[in-house]
């Protein structure tokens, strides 16, 4: 059964790694729903957050293939209830339309949005939340002549995780441990 899985990958910060990881999905005809790369809690180490809609079997296999890559420190996957996650969306609407027809105050409160730019010709709102939340606001704003819309990739943090500092120490120590 397919479900939404969030894959987290800790990597070295090397050129070409994004491609190396991305083609592992396309080779298997797996659609990447969302992909984000950013710094992590550890200096110099990058963190990929990749969302796919797939069976657990497929996700397990691709994660072990990803983890095998030389410059990948760690890769794992989680279901939605194991993580806290957010996406950010920006909406550009004509200022006169919106001011005239909508109780903007109420709208913003209801959707947890805020106006980041207000000009004579347009206003830009920002909302952060789950997909359904930013989607809702999109529906509400659409009738007022939405000029532009964009949504970021998902970023996610594990509920049960103590971060990567300790794990990294372990990996660096391994140099000194003879295998068995």
């Amino acid at each position: 059964m397919k479900a939404e899985y969030t894959i987290t990958v800790y990597t070295e910060n090397h050129i070409g790694l994004l491609n190396r990881i991305a083609i592992m999905f396309s080779r298997r005809k797996i659609n990447i729903e969302s992909l984000n790369t950013s710094p992590s809690e550890v200096n110099g180490i990058h963190r990929f957050t990749i969302v796919v809609n797939e069976t657990e079997e497929v996700v397990r296999k691709i994660v072990s293939q990803i983890e095998k890559q030389v410059e990948v420190l760690k890769a794992f996957y989680n279901t939605d209830n194991e993580i806290v996650w957010q996406e950010l969306a920006l909406y550009k609407v004509p200022t006169d339309e919106i001011a005239e027809k909508v109780k903007v105050e109420r709208l913003l409160r209801e959707y947890g949005a805020r106006a980041v730019v207000i000009r004579k010709d347009y206003t830009i709102f920002e909302a952060t939340g789950h997909r359904e939340e930013t989607e809702k606001l999109l529906e509400v704003l659409a009738p007022y002549g939405l000029i532009e819309f964009v949504r970021s990739a998902r970023v996610a943090i594990l509920k049960a995780s103590s971060g990567f500092h300790d794990k990294l120490m372990e990996l660096e120590m391994e140099a000194n441990i003879e295998s068995i």
Binding site: H14, G16, G44, K61, V70, E174, S179
Partner: protein, 580 residues
Amino acid sequence: MSLAKNDTVLQESTVEYDTQLSGSSAVLEAFLAEGVDTIFGYPGGAIMPIYDALYDYQDKLQHILVRHEQGGIHAAQGYARTSGKVGVVFATSGPGATNLVTGLADAMIDSTPLVCITGQVFSHLLGTDAFQETDVINITTPVTKWNYQVTDANEIPEVLAKAFYIAESGRPGPVLIDITKNAQLQKFDYKRYTKCKHIRSYRPKPIVRKEYVEAAAQLINEAKKPFVLFGQGIILGKAENEFKTFIEKGGLPAACTLLGLSALPTEHPLHVGMLGMHGNYGPNVLTNECDVLIAIGMRFDDRVTGLLSKYAKQAKIVHLDIDPSEINKNVKADVGVWGDCKDTLPLLTSLINENVHTAWIQKFYDYRQQEIDAVITNELHPKGDKMTMGEVIHQLNELTHGNAIVVTDVGQHQMVTCRYAKFNDTKSNITSGGLGTMGFALPAAIGAKFGALHRTVVAVIGDGGFQMTLQELGTIMQNDIDVKILILNNQFLGMVRQWQELFHERRYSFTDIKSPDYIMLAKSYGIAAQKVEARENLVAALATMLQHKGSFLLEVMVGRENNVFPMVPQGCSVSEIRLR
């Protein structure tokens, strides 16, 4: 971007330099430090500085000028597989680099350690569609274990050290380093070359978990009908002795994959044959009858498993592999033992009981007898007047006594040779397994010879595959390379024709292939050659070939429409293997 300075633990080296060195010389210094003796390559504009530096290293590094970069990389593969060392290749940018792609893919899927150096345009020209600029890094990403572009000579020692370490450690594979021309020319302060021993993001060997070894031992000890499948992992892990001790202690019948062949002498009483589509009858049928299947250093390729949903469903599966991603990839393991089999096999051996499984092993022998009666006798001692591929290999065995390295191309002759060739020693069967690359054998045989100079190398090749890379006869000529070339000519692209016969109502669509006069061809390269059309001349001709000092080409005309059997038809279960 530069390589993170803190992610590699360096080992002190003995060579100390404190001079200005060019990037090109630094590449060659790295080779010396890594114990490289032979390079297979082809020059061109973007790699000329390295070739210029090589001019001064000719007494220390042997360079073999091939005739095509694909030949170069297949030669390096052959070298790596007979020597157990890293194969090294030079190619120029653009077309030189793209000509490596087939070999990279082949080495990737067959886990062959290679370091390929490609020249690249000046770094200020990257992305400008400069002459002979190709995005080699992105083209080769899916077919390399690791690749990296160097734009600054200062990076070279460390990058090369990583390249060799990654290529040969863990599950080996090909590494490609692309070096821009400015970095090759650039002089820098060369300090020392330190071999790489650790990369923090890379775990070549998973940590062995004792509890899984114990669980595996328990399954083996309880088994009534255990069956071992062994792959190239035994050879790559240099664990042939550990493996032999293991199966001998447990009295365990063992069958090999195509690439596992020669890891255990073929005459060993516990060696019950080869797996796979054209493997032996008993091992295929009994896969679906054993109670514990112990897979070691193999990856359950679809040509081994046939229809997965009917593969060894009755058995408990134990899978030993150095690559954790292989465990539970195709076949779900009841016990997965991660680790280098050089480490895990002795642990496992110490925990299993001494045993014999006489009645169970007899079943393999009984099936072997059925196969002999239905297939092998006709193949090795045919009654008809046309020669068979099997009888040629049988006669070759008689003359080499199983001591030769046998390199095969891809097709019917490959399957027949791997079915019937005798092997006494490890690293003796060199073939393109996972990729099935026609054109592999001739260049791979060249490299195989450099990897094992004291051994006889016989390349068995079809008339189709030989025509794919025959330009390497030039390499043999120029370097006086002693390889024996045995062309089994059935005047067809035989393996495809067999499928057309069996599954496409004999509609022989473009499989009828003509050959040039191979004897004249060989002669034009100064290579001794002979053609055999009648059985009575076969043994003498094979003996002539083997006794000849230097390279020799022997063309043997075999029956046009012979088929390789047994066969597990595609989409069928291994136990549905057909004898005819």
